[in-house]
């Protein structure tokens, strides 16, 4: 054994001591510094759950609202706002659930709250009801005309732009500005009341656009014409051209 130790070069012995010191320091540091409850339930301190759970509760959850306000809850759940929880608009209301008379939940009654979702914004999905609050009945608060628990418009919209603001604004600056929506889309009256159940039609073939854009079509000379037989015959027009803004690339 002694012979074996003597054979080990001096450098290795010294480095081994250093290595052992580093390892011991690492092990001691790990055992001292790692929180005792680390890793019991996951890669974090188990007590972090309790710290979070101990935070003061603010929200009650919509089931709690339904206990007392089940009529409004049913109305809401049958309408377009069915996916919103009550406290999205009324704010955190646990206090109100605990002491209904002392704490009253918020009731947004200004023209600022609803446009958080309904102000016109081109990134919102097509068909999502959007308004320009500066020009949409500017002096009235939203709830005068709209019931937030059943937010169907007070009157059936006359114009497509009431809901399809993005398409309408794109079309209004395009060369298709004078073409009414109904020229290309057939929408039954039911679409205005139940937009997702009754969808309007869309042109399904090349010949539809060809009514104006084929070489032998009647109409003004400035309308761009194409040879229907040779112009990308395997594609439908809207695969390359956006009909609401045909100038766009």
């Amino acid at each position: 054994m002694k012979n074996f130790l003597q054979k080990i070069p001096e450098q290795v012995k010294r480095l081994s001591v250093l290595l052992i010191v580093v390892i011991v320091v690492f092990i001691v540091a790990t055992s001292l510094l790692t929180p005792k409850d680390f890793g019991l339930v996951g890669h974090y301190r188990a007590s972090a759950i309790k710290i979070n759970a101990d935070q003061k509760m603010q929200y009650a959850g919509q089931e709690a609202c339904a206990d007392c306000h089940d009529d409004m809850w049913k109305t809401k759940n049958a309408g377009f706002h069915k996916n919103l929880s009550c406290e999205v608009c009324h704010g955190p209301s646990l206090n109100h659930v605990n002491e209904p008379d002392q704490f009253k939940p918020d009731k947004p009654r200004d023209r600022i709250f609803c446009p958080v979702c309904h102000e016109y914004n081109p990134s919102r999905p097509t068909g999502f009801p959007q308004i320009l609050s500066a020009s949409h009945n500017p002096r009235r608060i939203c709830v005068t005309c709209h019931n937030p628990h059943n937010p169907t418009p007070p009157q059936t919209p006359k114009e497509c732009s009431a809901c399809h603001a993005e398409i309408s604004s794109a079309k209004s600056v395009s060369s298709h500005m004078d073409i009414p929506c109904t020229k290309c889309h057939e929408a039954s009256d039911k679409h205005k009341l139940h937009p997702r159940e009754y969808l309007p039609t869309k042109p399904a073939n090349r010949e539809f656009c060809g009514q104006c854009h084929s070489q032998d079509a009647k109409g003004d000379k400035f309308i761009p014409r194409i040879n229907m037989a040779t112009h990308e015959p395997r594609y439908v027009c809207w695969q390359c051209h956006y009909p609401h803004l045909p100038e766009a690339q």
């Binding site: 070069p9 001096e10 450098q11 010294r14 480095l15 540091a29 790990t30 510094l33 890793g39 890669h43």
Partner: protein
């Protein structure tokens, strides 16, 4: 709130197209640009040093120890930009004591510790051991004790022990090459594995990072060697410079080919992000990518070195061209890091808009903080050369 609005309002005016609200402000700023740049210099300087020991490139011997110390100085500073960026340096030890093996970022501490302790420190120790013992014997006072402690009070300078040291320097260098690849490949991996970002998400990223790292490391050692040697009143070894420039040239060719491959691959694949990326490159990144990174940092140095090699030039012209090329390469590689880190955050994930990066001057993540972090390795290198002189004449016969 008021401060935030004042900060964001001028940026908002320069936003182009449509971006999501949380994309206005960049989260990774100039410090995160600095981090891959610094680690790249480490890996590059080490690979250069390994050329001497593993591949027996004798001409580079004058730069071997300098390259090792450069790698060491830059490696010690490399985590500082991260610590400054995260803002809680006192918590840094936690990634070591509670290792999370499923997170590439969390494993950084171990990659770093391995490279620092198992590769660089050990290789420098074996390389210098004999000299340190002899220096300690001649010196007095604090210097003697510093050298004694660094040598771990080792005394054996027999023929057998020196042979053992040399053997281990070679073995550690061989282990060090994949380790250097690991260190910098890992930095590329962090970016390359962010699948939501088409500018970063590329399997070529670690390799491109690595070769640009080698380019920058060689160029940095070349610059340091060319500045330090005349300052010390010594003659530059032109054979060594020629060799350095040759290696710089070869690695740049590989780096250029890889980047070109990445570019062609992206254009040919033409994923849905290609339009916004093309717009990004031709607008916001035009100066930093096309002008600085590609022309100034790549094509001009390549052409200059190629010309000087083809034509039989006088040594002074060679030196000047090598020096200017190396400086341009540094600027180019810094620009590469900039284009990756900043470029990857300039375009919206909607692929429909671009934001802008406004660098602040003061503060923990500002321009001055990064200048300080960038200067630190040079100060550290100065101290290291005082403790462990890398010069030929300092070696004991």
């Amino acid at each position: 709130m008021e401060e935030l609005i004042q900060h964001l309002t001028p940026i908002l005016k320069e936003v182009w197209g449509y971006i999501f609200p949380n994309e206005i402000e960049l989260h990774w700023g100039i410090l995160i640009v600095l981090y891959p740049y610094l680690t790249g210099l480490v890996a590059g300087a080490f690979i250069l040093a390994s050329l001497v020991k593993v591949f027996n490139v004798k001409e580079l011997q004058p730069t071997y120890r300098l390259a090792m110390l450069t790698a060491m100085a830059f490696l010690i500073v490399a985590p500082l930009p991260l610590l400054a960026h995260l803002g809680h340096p006192e918590r840094a030890y936690e990634i070591l004591i509670t290792p999370n093996s499923t997170s590439a970022m969390a494993m950084f501490g171990f990659v770093y510790a391995w490279y620092l302790m198992a590769v660089l420190c050990l290789e420098i120790w074996f390389e210098y051991r004999r000299d340190i013992i002899l220096w300690a014997q001649k010196e007095t006072g604090i210097k003697k004790w510093i050298h004694k402690i660094i040598s771990l009070f080792s005394k054996d300078i027999s023929e057998k022990a020196i042979h053992f040291d040399k053997k281990w320097v070679k073995i550690i260098t061989i282990i060090g090459i994949p380790s250097a690849f690991l260190l910098h490949g890992y930095v590329g991996f962090i970016f390359g594995s962010i699948k939501a970002n088409p500018w970063w998400s590329s399997v070529l990223m670690p390799i491109v990072f690595l070769f640009s790292a080698i380019v920058s490391g060689i160029a940095m050692v070349l610059i340091l060697y060319m500045i330090i040697t005349p300052v010390r009143g010594k003659q530059l070894d032109i054979l060594c410079l020629d060799k350095l420039a040759s290696y710089l040239f070869y690695v740049m060719i590989i780096d250029f080919s890889l980047e070109a491959l990445d570019f062609v691959h992206r254009v040919y694949e033409s994923e849905e992000s290609i339009k916004i990326l093309a717009y990004l490159v031709s607008n916001k990144l035009f100066i930093s990518l096309v002008v600085i990174q590609l022309f100034m940092g790549m094509l001009i140095p390549l052409a200059m070195i190629a010309l000087i090699k083809i034509m039989k030039s006088p040594p002074d012209l060679k030196k000047m061209v090598y020096f200017i090329s190396a400086i341009l390469v540094q600027v180019g590689i810094f620009s590469t890091r900039w284009n990756i880190v900043i470029g990857g955050q300039l375009f919206s994930k909607s692929f429909r808009g671009l934001t802008v990066y406004k660098i602040t001057f003061f503060g923990l993540e500002g321009f001055f903080a990064s200048v300080i972090v960038f200067c630190l390795p040079f100060i550290l290198l100065y101290i290291l050369t005082k403790v462990l002189p890398p010069w030929e004449e300092a070696r004991n016969p």
